[in-house]
């Protein structure tokens, strides 16, 4: 027992500089990421900012009980999961299809031009993107209405953003528009790393382009897709905040509000810190549970896993 311990201490002593280099950032991470977890106690209190910690009134699980009986919160939960799910499925399908199509382009300059254009929206803020979306969907002269009218599909402009049932679709489409190019990067890399001799062998066997896509390309990127699905499942409670906040309005509020907007409203605007913290805790706990569940499932199926 003593021998490895003393060698550990010896190694520690020789690594003074490394320790010194990591210390400031480690303290920083504790202060900004772990210390705030202490604030979770607020969810079990009737928190009043003016009082000190010992003066707070403890109420147990009252806030959580309230949350799960509150119609607004249940709607918000439904919206969050629905929009996340739509974003997840749409995002994966479009990115994979786009990556496969890009991979078939052999002219380098053309390929690069398309890629550069498709990455562009990823770098813009959601404020700018939602502004562009609102413009495109606007009733007076928005390009979507203009095109649909010129093609004769509709006779008068549709008020897209005032129709509750369109809201999820609009959010999903906005996400695809913003991230399709970016999401493609990783699949394209996975496709390029597939052994080319597999394609040659398939060609000799008489496989056409579609057969090769179906039987070589898709299986070839399967493991990266699974890892990314796992990672994204952990963020299913993050349907986003900005899109819904900027594109939402009074008419569609029952379909647009997400947990993050709920937390902001109750916490910062109404000042019910305890309830907002409880909603935040719920979100984090579900995310972490999902990550571990998905990770274990992937392990059981013998796939590569995240952790």
């Amino acid at each position: 027992m003593t021998a490895p311990k003393s060698s550990f201490l010896k190694r520690m002593r020789s690594q003074k500089q490394l320790m010194l280099m990591s210390l400031p950032m480690l303290l920083y991470v504790f202060l900004f990421s772990y210390y705030p977890l202490w604030g979770w106690t607020q969810a079990f209190q009737n928190f009043k900012p003016a009082l000190s910690f010992s003066q707070q009134e403890w109420v147990g699980l009252k806030q959580f009980r309230f949350l799960f009986r509150d119609d607004t919160f249940l709607l918000v939960l439904r919206n969050t999961i629905a929009m996340s799910f739509i974003n997840l499925v749409l995002g994966f399908v479009t990115a994979i299809v786009f990556a496969i199509l890009l991979n078939e382009i052999k002219t380098r300059l053309y390929k690069r031009a398309i890629q550069t254009i498709s990455y562009l929206p990823h770098f813009l803020s959601w404020i700018i993107v939602t502004g562009l979306v609102a413009n495109a969907l606007s009733v007076d002269g928005g390009i979507i209405n203009v095109v649909l009218m010129k093609l004769g599909f509709i006779h008068e402009p549709i008020m897209w953003l005032s129709k509750p049932h369109y809201f999820w679709g609009i959010v999903g489409a906005s996400h695809v528009w913003k991230e399709i190019g970016w999401n493609t990067i990783i699949y394209l890399a996975a496709i390029t790393s597939i052994d080319p001799s597999l394609y040659e062998a398939a060609e000799i066997d008489g496989a056409n382009r579609y057969r090769k896509m179906l039987n070589i390309t898709l299986p070839g990127i399967k493991s990266i897709v699974i890892i990314l699905v796992i990672m994204n499942l952990g963020w299913i409670m993050d349907a986003g905040f900005e899109v819904q906040y900027f594109l939402g309005n009074g008419v569609v509020v029952d379909w647009s509000q997400t947990i993050d907007i709920f937390v902001l409203k109750y916490g910062i605007q109404i000042g019910n810190y305890s309830l907002a913290t409880a909603a935040g805790i719920f979100k984090t706990v579900v995310s972490v549970a999902l990550i571990f569940a998905a990770n274990t499932t992937a392990k059981r199926f013998g796939e590569d896993r995240l952790i």
Binding site: M21, S22, Y28, P36, I117, S125, G280, K283
Partner: protein, 299 residues
């Protein structure tokens, strides 16, 4: 060369592929080109509609109004300042931590990695973070833009992964020459990491430049801390209000001598707010594509 059915198939596929790509290009680029056209068109004329790719009545007035001094001009410089300061600091501190956990012999390598990576999934949430910022007296202070976001686990992993691809011999020979870890990091590792640092710098800078929520949450009562995105956000909410109000959209109103409208100002700020990014990112493209592949496929 092969049978006829074989020679027709690639043509069909390639045509289909080209149509998809062109459609994607148009859908991506049109909103920008349209916004540029609107930003150069006289504001009261834009309200009549029908501006697509080219301005009808050319004017610099919208841009003059943005840069005329005042809030938006000031906000532009706040955005520039926070982006520069935060990028440099974050890059330096993140890569220093990344270096320590790239050293396989480091005794605390694993615990530090776990502690930092966990923060990717674990977040105390909005309210506790708000109270932390308040208790640290960062509310309505410029430092609130820089300090809370200095390190990101994702960026650290990207830098560490790159550092691990550097030849081990370099570090060993530096050690033999008597260099400590500080020296090795500054004079050998850091200069070799330029490609990955450029990538991460882009990520951090874009995040800083695009950020508005911290202004909204922590500094909205201080006008001189307002950022460009925050001003744009305020305009967005006001413009969408006036959009639904038919009296504003009446272009024949003789009182509308003012060529500048919230709509046209918004277009020009949108262009000003996206231009720096659009100019920089194509040059860094090959780095971040490579960096993401390293981080993604090997992790």
């Amino acid at each position: 060369m092969k049978s006829r059915t074989h020679s027709l198939e690639p043509v069909v596929f390639n045509t289909f592929n080209a149509i998809v790509m062109i459609a994607l290009g148009i859908v991506t680029l049109y909103p920008f080109l349209n916004t540029i056209a609107v930003s150069f068109n006289a504001g009261n004329d834009t309200l009549r509609g029908g501006i697509y790719l080219w301005p009808r009545i050319w004017t610099w007035q919208n841009y003059n109004a943005v840069f005329a001094g005042g809030t938006i001009f000031h906000a532009f410089w706040v955005s520039v300042a926070r982006t520069l300061i935060a990028t440099v600091l974050s890059l330096f501190l993140t890569s220093m931590l990344a270096y320590t956990i790239s050293r396989k012999e480091y005794v605390f390598r694993q615990p530090i990695t776990i502690i930092v990576v966990l923060t990717m999934y674990f977040n105390a949430g909005l309210i506790p973070n708000y109270f932390l910022i308040k208790d640290l007296h960062l509310l309505n202070h410029f430092a609130v833009y820089v300090v809370p976001g200095l390190i990101s686990a994702f960026n650290m992993i990207v830098i560490r992964t790159y550092m691990q691809t550097l030849p081990e011999g370099l570090i060993e020979s530096a050690k033999v020459d008597g260099a400590g870890d500080f020296r090795t990091f500054f004079s050998i590792i850091l200069p070799l990491c330029q490609p990955v640092l450029a990538t991460v710098a882009l990520f951090v800078a874009v995040g800083q430049w695009n950020s508005w929520f911290d202004t909204f949450l922590y500094a909205s009562s201080k006008l001189n801390l307002s950022t460009l995105q925050y001003e744009l956000m305020k305009l967005l909410s006001s413009a969408s209000l006036s959009n639904s109000n038919p009296s504003v959209a009446n272009g024949n109103n003789p009182a509308a001598i003012n060529m500048v409208t919230p709509l046209s100002i918004r277009a020009s700020i949108t262009i000003v707010a996206s231009l720096p990014i659009l100019v920089v990112y194509p040059f860094l493209q090959k780095y971040f594509v490579h960096g993401l592949q390293l981080g993604g496929v090997k992790e």
